[in-house]
């Protein structure tokens, strides 16, 4: 991209944000596969609208299309913050259909992998063009220092997007929030269990503070 085009795009983005103060902020939920993004999206949506966003599963790439829940009004300290939640497929650099053949027949596994690749490409496109902030969900029982996580956080930072890191699955014995804080000390890390609903008050306080 040329310097002039980049300058024009930067000004355009800044202008868009300036004039969209009253619009709901589009908050993308990003992270690796199986971090609990859809469980979190569903928890937020159910708590504030009564409806879920999508199906949850232990099989990677259950979410294969970005899904949006619009106008989620979160009330904190008498103030209402309105966001559109965008639940995205887990970002990865590889998808092998054979990973799914234990759970389903080959034809379904191939279809799942094709949909997953399209979904990840779409999620990357949304990240460049269409979100105002990011909730980055990590499984706190897993090592957070992976190339995909490092790359994604770098891409988000390069877009000047506000980002909150959610250390999910603190209900698991092997969970380590500190490992995530140490991996990405430049960002606020909020511990939670989306499945159990642990620490959701801090989750909503942080969303209101960062994206309100």
């Amino acid at each position: 991209m040329g310097l002039f085009t980049e300058l024009k795009d930067s000004i355009s983005r800044a202008t868009d944000r300036l004039f969209s103060e009253q619009e709901p902020k589009r908050i993308g939920i990003y992270g690796p596969p199986n971090a609990g993004k859809t469980t979190l999206a569903n928890r937020i949506a159910r708590d504030w609208t009564g409806d879920a966003i999508g199906a949850e599963s232990h099989v990677p790439h259950e979410t294969r299309r970005a899904r949006r829940k619009e106008n989620v009004e979160i009330e904190r300290d008498g103030k209402t913050v309105t966001i559109d939640i965008v639940d995205t497929p887990g970002v990865t650099t590889k998808v092998d259909y054979e990973e799914f053949t234990d759970e389903m027949d080959e034809e379904d596994a191939i279809r799942r992998s094709r949909e997953a690749t399209e979904g990840v490409a779409e999620a990357m496109h949304w990240l460049r063009e269409d979100v105002d902030g990011v909730i980055y969900v990590l499984d706190s029982a897993e090592d957070p220092i992976t190339q995909v996580n490092t790359m994604l956080i770098g891409i988000i930072e390069s877009r000047d997007l506000p980002v909150l890191i959610f250390a999910n699955k603190i209900d698991l014995e092997e969970s380590s929030v500190k490992r995530i804080e140490d991996a990405f000390p430049q960002h606020k890390t909020v511990p939670l269990s989306a499945k159990e609903g642990d620490n959701m008050d801090e989750v909503y306080d942080s969303i209101a503070e960062y994206f309100g």
Binding site: T93, R128, M151
Partner: protein
């Protein structure tokens, strides 16, 4: 496909090709040219090593294009490893507008997901095992 596994062609060289691409060569290339060069190499079963890394935008597009090219039984994606980013990076908006979003001089290794496995990575060393199939 990988030269090392080309059993149909006994004259094919037995080994894994490593393409070491200088920063100077990458300097004059557009984003999609860089991505095409990387993925063409990886599709051929090569390990591509970039003397200088990619910018975040280029990394984002590399993931997007890689996803578009994944195909069952033929290509299941890439492994990519690079050294951590420098703390001294100029991350201000003005800095990037003025050209600050240059790729940092950090070595990056990219290879076919079914052939490359990272054994160890820290701030100064990437150790990778490359299989021939």
């Amino acid at each position: 496909m990988p030269k090392a596994t080309n059993a149909d062609d006994p004259d094919a060289p037995d080994g894994v090709q490593i393409d070491l691409i200088s920063g100077e060569r990458m300097d004059g290339m557009a984003t999609m040219e860089k991505i095409r060069m990387i993925l063409d190499g990886v599709h051929d079963g090569n390990i591509v090593i970039l003397e200088e890394g990619l910018t975040p935008d280029e990394e984002s597009r590399l993931i997007e294009v890689t996803m578009a090219e994944i195909s069952p039984d033929e290509f299941n994606g890439i492994e990519i490893e690079t050294y951590p980013k420098s703390d001294t990076r100029d991350s201000s908006l003005l800095g990037r507008i003025m050209g600050g979003e240059e790729a940092e001089a950090k070595l990056t290794v990219i290879g076919p997901a079914n052939q490359i496995e990272t054994l160890h990575k820290d701030e100064t060393l990437i150790s990778a095992l490359v299989s021939r199939n």
